[in-house]
Symmetry: C2
């Protein structure tokens, strides 16, 4: 089973990386670009066939290592 994890900064947390991308896009002439937010995307191969177990395991990984839950949100999608 594959877990696809998205880690994004919470709303209200300043995202300098996203701001830099927005500025770069504007200076390249993409003037329809508004706000840009950059996050992380992690794909994990899991040797686990039970979906509920896999979900709870990945939640633990996010809480313990992958995401800083003070300033970041995460979401998990499981794919067979």
């Amino acid at each position: 089973m594959k877990a696809r994890v998205h880690i994004t900064l919470k709303n209200g947390v300043l995202d300098p990386q996203g701001r830099a991308i927005a500025n770069a896009l504007h200076s390249l002439g993409f003037d329809k670009v508004g706000d840009v937010r950059q996050g992380k995307f992690i794909e994990i191969d899991l040797k686990e066939s039970d979906k509920a177990k896999a979900k709870s395991e990945v939640d633990q990984m996010c809480a313990k290592l992958l995401a800083n839950t003070v300033i970041e949100n995460y979401s998990v999608d499981l794919v067979e």
Copy 2:
């Protein structure tokens, strides 16, 4: 309209960041974890209501700035 862009390393390109995450997860006791790949996730607010135009604009952004197409793949999802 919002564009959600995923940028991932192509298959076969070494991903030291993903490898480090896998090692850290193993040492935390998550022994069902196999391969891990880390990518980027970028959310762009676009002042453009035409889906086809938005898609082609974001494709250009990826080719020109966001992705290094020699070693990275990108995919674009548009959300209203």
